[in-house]
Amino acid sequence: MEAPLCELRGVSQSFTQPNGAPLPVLQGIDLQVRPAEVVCLLGPSGCGKSTLLRILAGLIRPTTGEVLYHGRPLTGLNPGVAIVFQSFALYPWMTVAQNIQVVLQAAGLPRAEVATRAAQAIRTVGLDGFEEAYPRELSGGMKQRVGMARAFSLHPEMLFMDEPFSQVDALTAESLRAEVLDLWASRRSQSSSILMVSHDIKEVVYMADRIVVLGAHPGVVRTVVENTLPRPRDYRSPELLRMVDRLHDIITGHELPDVASPTALAGPEMEPLPTVSTSEIVGLLEYLDARGGCEDVFRMATDTGRDFGKAIGVVKAAEMLELVDTPKRAVALSGTGARFLASDVAGRKALWREQLLQLGLFRQLRAVLEQQPRHELRREQVLELVILRLPFEDYERTFDTLVRWGRFGDLFAYDEERELLSLQ
C-alpha cells in the first residue's frame, strides 16, 4: 500500500459549551487519505464529518491526536488541499473570473499565469461566456461550478468537498458528480485524491473508492467499506443498489438496535431526547398509517424528502414513546401508535402524556415541579437538571424539545417571557 497523503491518528475534538462543560464532537478517529482515491465520509447530521474535514485541512486544530501530512506532523494549513464549500463561499462583489483569479494571485503565481489558468479552469467547468457575470446572476449549480473551478485551478493534491451538492437541485447534482469524476480520472496520474463529506448514501456509493461510515454523539468511525465497483458506475446497476442496501443495513444496525428496550429508560439512566418536533412524530405515524402500518426506513427517508439522519431521529423519538416498533430495517406502527391515531385531540393528548411519563426525564421533572410551592421552575433550574442527567447532550436543545413535547401533552406550560416552566 502506498504511503498516505495525509492521516489522522487518534484524533478527538470537543467544543466548550457556554456553561464550560466540554461537548465531545469526535472521538478517537483514525483515518487516511491515500494517493489517487476518492474517500467519502458518510454519517448522520451531528456526527462531526465537516469538523473532520476541517481538521484534515488544517483549519481547526484537534483537541487531542495527530494530524500527519506526508508522514510529518501538520502545522498550519494543509498545503495540498483545496476546498469546495457547501454554501459555495464565493465573493459576491467579484465576477466569476475574479473569484478564481484572487485565489491564484494569493498563491503567488505571476500575472500572466493567473490569467491563463483562470481561463482554463472556467473552460473546464463549462462556464465560458460567464467570466464577467457576478455570482448573484448564477443558479446554484453554476455557482458550485465556479467553486469547483476555483479549487481545480490550483491543481491541488487533494480536493476536499463539504456536502458540495446538497444545495444544488437533484438533476444538476447528478451531472456535477459525473463531471467531478471525469476531471479526477483525467488527472489520476498526478495522484490527486478527493475527500468528500456527504449524507447521501447513493451519492457516496456512486463516487467513492472507500466509504468511512461515521456514528454520532460523539462522532466515531463505525466501519470502513471498500467500494470496488468498476467505473464508470451506473446508479441503477444491481451491484450499486446492493452496495447501497449494504450500507443501509450497516447504518441501521447501529442506529436502530433491534432489541430496543424502552422500559430500561424508566431507570435512573436517561436516554437523550432527539431534537424532533411533535408534529414530525405525528407526521411519521400518519405516514405509516397511510402505508398499511409498516414501511422500510430508507423508503421513508426518500419519500419524505428528509436527509437520512433526520429521518432516523424521528423514528428514534417515536420509538422512545413506544408509538412505533423497528423490526430490522422496517418501521411499524405499534398498538399504542394505532390507538393514538384513532383518538380525537383530547384523547391524543392524554395518550401522549401517558407515554411521556414512561420516560425518566419527564417523570422526574414532574416530580420536582410538584415539590415546588407554586409548581414552577425557572429555565436555568431545568437546564441544570438536564445537564446533571445528560452531561453529553446539548442541554439547550434538549430543553427546547422537552418543552415542546411537554406542551403537546398538556403536561407543562412554559412562559417564554419570564422563562418559567410550570405544571399544567
Partner: protein
C-alpha cells in the same frame, strides 16, 4: 436559470462609441482646474498668518468662497474620520484584548459633546503652530471630525466581526494574507454600511458648523472664514437677508455634495451587495453616468491598470496558523505594545482630568447632576414627540413604493441640513407665541434628531414582509388593530435603533438648544447643555470638565440600562429574520 447579460457585448460597444473627447471631458478638465484653484485658495488660507478673528463680509458675493472653505473643512475632516475608522475599527475587531478597552471608549467618545473637546483642541493646536493659521484650522477640522467619526467606526467594526463564516474560511484555505483578506473580503463586505454611515456622518459633521467656525473661549474670540461663522455673525447682528442667504448657500452645498459625491458613491457601492435576488431598485446617478462617458478618465484608468499589471507577484504565500478550538483571535506582541501605550494614554488623560476637576465643590457636582436630569427629561420628551409624528409619516412613506422612491432622497437631503441654522427662525416663532426656551429647547432638539427616527421607521416599513401585509389585508385587520398587531411590532427593532441615535443626537444638541443667542440677547434654559456652553465661553475648565463627565456618564448609563435592553428585546421578540 436566468441568462445573464445577454446584451452585454452590444451595450459595451455603444459605450465605447460614446467615449470620445468631447463636452464631458472639457467639463472634467474644468472641474479639475476648479478644484485645484480652490485647493490653492484653501492652502493660502491655512498657511496665512494667525488671525484669530476674521472680519466676516456679510454680502452675498462673499458666500461662494466661504461655502467652499467650509466644505473643504468638512471633507478634510471626513478623510480623517475614514482613516480613524479603518485603523480603530480594524484594531478593535482583530485584537480581542484591545477590543475590551476600545469599544467602551468609543461609547464614551460618542457621548461627549463637541464643546467638551473644544478647549483642549484649540489651545493645544494654536500653541503647536504659533504664528500660522494651521493650528486654528486644524482645530476646526478636528471639531467637525468629532461629529463624524464614531458611528462610522461602529459600523466598520461590526462589519468586520460579521463577515460570513464560509467567506472567512475560503480566505483561509486559499491563503489570503492579512492585506489580501482586508482588500478582497473585509473591506468589500464593510463597504455598504460604511457608505451609508459616511453620509450620516457628513450630515452630523455640519450640525455644529456654527460653533466649529466661530467660538468664544474665555476672553478670546475665534472666528474662521466660512459659512458657519457667516451665519453666526448674521445672527448676532440680526441681519435677516444675510441669514436667508446663508441658509440658501448651505442647502446648495448639501445638494451639491449629495449629487456629486454621495449619489455616485452609493450607486458604485451597489456592487458590494451581499444579498441574492434581483435588483430591488436600480439606483442611478447622472454624475456617475457622466464620468463614465469621459474618455479622459477612461484613459487614466487604463494607465493605472497597466502599471498595476506590471507589479511583481507575491513570492511567498503566508504561513497561516489554524485556529484553536476556542476560536482564534490572538494578541501578538506589537499589538500588545500598542495596547500598553493606549492604556498609558488613558491613565494619563484620566489623571489630568481628575487634577482639573479638583477644585469643584460637592454642591456644584450636585447641581450638575440635577441639571443633567432636567436635560434627560428634555431629551426623552424630544424623542417621544419625534416618534409621534415620524411613525405615521414613516409608515406612509415606507409602505408605498412610489412615495419612498420620490421622498427618500428629498428627506435625506433635508435631514443633512444643520438644524441650528434654522434656530433663529424657530426662536423668533417661539418668542412670538410666548413659549420660553425651557420648553422651546425641546423643539430645537427635535428639529435636529427627528430624522434619525424617520429614516429608521421608513426602513422598517419597507422591510415588512409582503405575506404579513397580505395576511392583515385578507383578514380585514384594519385601523388601530393593524397598527398594533402588524406595523408597530415589525418596525420596533428599527424604531429602537432610531431612538438610540436620536437620543444621542439630542444630548449633543442640548448645548446649542438650551442656550441661544438671538438679536443680541442671550436666551437660556436651565440644563446641562446650557451649563456646558456657558462654562466653555467663560473658559471655566473645571466646571466644563465636570459637566462633560456627568453628561457622558448619564448618557452611557442610560444606554446600558435602557437602550441596550430595548435592543435585546427587539432582537429576541420582534426580529423578523429569526
Amino acid at each position: 436559470m436566468r441568462r445573464p447579460r445577454v446584451f452585454w457585448g452590444e451595450s459595451n460597444a455603444s459605450l465605447e462609441e460614446e467615449r470620445r473627447f468631447g463636452v464631458v471631458d472639457m467639463l472634467v478638465v474644468a472641474g479639475l482646474a476648479g478644484a485645484l484653484f480652490g485647493g490653492l485658495r484653501a492652502a493660502h488660507e491655512w498657511t496665512g498668518a494667525l488671525r484669530p478673528t476674521v472680519d466676516i463680509d456679510l454680502s452675498p458675493r462673499a458666500l461662494p468662497a466661504y461655502a467652499f472653505l467650509s466644505m473643504s473643512r468638512g471633507l478634510i475632516a471626513y478623510v480623517f474620520s475614514l482613516g480613524f475608522t479603518l485603523v480603530y475599527g480594524y484594531w478593535a475587531a482583530k485584537d480581542a484584548l484591545a477590543e475590551r478597552v476600545l469599544l467602551p471608549l468609543l461609547d464614551i467618545l460618542q457621548s461627549i459633546p463637541v464643546l467638551g473637546f473644544m478647549p483642549g483642541l484649540v489651545l493645544a493646536l494654536v500653541a503647536a503652530f504659533p504664528g500660522s493659521n494651521v493650528g486654528l484650522e486644524l482645530a476646526a477640522v478636528l471639531m467637525i471630525f468629532t461629529g463624524q467619526a464614531w458611528n462610522m467606526t461602529f459600523s466598520y467594526y461590526h462589519s468586520l466581526r460579521t463577515v460570513p463564516a464560509d467567506q472567512r474560511e475560503a480566505a483561509t484555505v486559499y491563503r489570503f494574507g492579512r492585506w489580501e483578506r482586508l482588500k478582497w473580503v473585509e473591506l468589500p463586505f464593510a463597504t455598504i454600511g460604511l457608505v451609508w454611515n459616511s453620509m450620516m456622518s457628513m450630515a452630523g459633521g455640519w450640525f455644529f458648523l456654527m460653533i466649529n467656525e466661530a467660538f468664544v473661549l474665555g476672553d478670546r474670540d475665534f472666528r474662521l472664514p466660512g459659512l458657519g461663522s457667516y451665519m453666526s455673525v448674521a445672527v448676532a447682528r440680526g441681519d435677516v437677508p444675510a441669514m436667508v442667504w446663508a441658509v440658501f448657500a448651505m442647502a446648495t452645498m448639501i445638494v451639491f455634495l449629495d449629487q456629486v459625491l454621495w449619489r455616485p458613491v452609493v450607486v458604485w457601492a451597489q456592487k458590494f451587495r451581499v444579498e441574492e435576488g434581483g435588483q430591488a431598485e436600480a439606483m442611478r446617478s447622472w454624475f456617475l453616468d457622466l464620468l463614465r462617458r469621459s474618455r479622459l478618465l477612461a484613459l487614466l484608468g487604463a494607465a493605472v491598470g497597466r502599471s498595476r499589471a506590471h507589479a511583481p507577484p507575491r513570492r511567498h504565500p503566508p504561513h497561516v496558523q489554524p485556529t484553536s478550538p476556542g476560536g482564534g483571535r490572538r494578541t501578538r506582541w506589537p499589538s500588545l505594545l500598542l495596547f500598553g501605550l493606549l492604556l498609558l494614554g488613558l491613565l494619563v488623560g484620566t489623571w489630568r482630568l481628575v487634577l482639573v476637576m479638583r477644585g469643584v465643590t460637592l454642591a456644584q457636582w450636585g447641581t450638575t447632576l440635577g441639571l443633567a436630569l432636567v436635560t434627560l427629561g428634555r431629551v426623552l420628551l424630544a424623542t417621544v414627540l419625534g416618534t409621534l409624528w415620524t411613525v405615521p409619516a414613516g409608515l406612509a412613506i415606507g409602505l408605498s413604493p412610489r412615495a419612498s422612491r420620490l421622498l427618500q432622497p428629498v428627506v435625506q437631503v433635508v435631514a443633512s441640513f444643520p438644524a441650528p441654522m434654522l434656530f433663529p427662525v424657530v426662536v423668533a416663532g417661539l418668542s412670538f407665541a410666548g413659549v420660553g426656551l425651557g420648553w422651546g429647547s425641546v423643539l430645537l432638539m427635535l428639529l435636529g434628531t427627528q430624522w434619525y427616527i424617520l429614516f429608521n421607521v421608513v426602513a422598517g416599513a419597507t422591510a415588512i414582509p409582503a405575506d404579513l401585509r397580505e395576511m392583515a389585508r385578507g383578514y380585514r385587520i384594519e385601523g388601530w388593530a393593524r397598527m398594533r398587531s402588524l406595523y408597530l411590532p415589525s418596525i420596533f427593532p428599527y424604531l429602537v435603533t432610531g431612538w438610540i441615535t436620536a437620543a444621542g443626537g439630542a444630548w449633543n444638541a442640548s448645548i446649542v438648544s438650551e442656550l441661544v443667542t438671538f438679536r443680541g440677547r442671550v436666551l437660556s434654559a436651565p440644563g446641562l447643555g446650557a451649563q456646558i456652553s456657558e462654562a466653555a465661553a467663560r473658559a471655566d475648565f473645571p466646571l466644563l470638565a465636570v459637566s462633560v463627565v456627568v453628561m457622558s456618564t448619564v448618557v452611557v448609563t442610560f444606554n446600558r440600562l435602557v437602550w441596550k435592553r430595548l435592543h435585546g428585546l427587539a432582537e429576541t421578540r420582534f426580529s423578523l429574520s429569526r
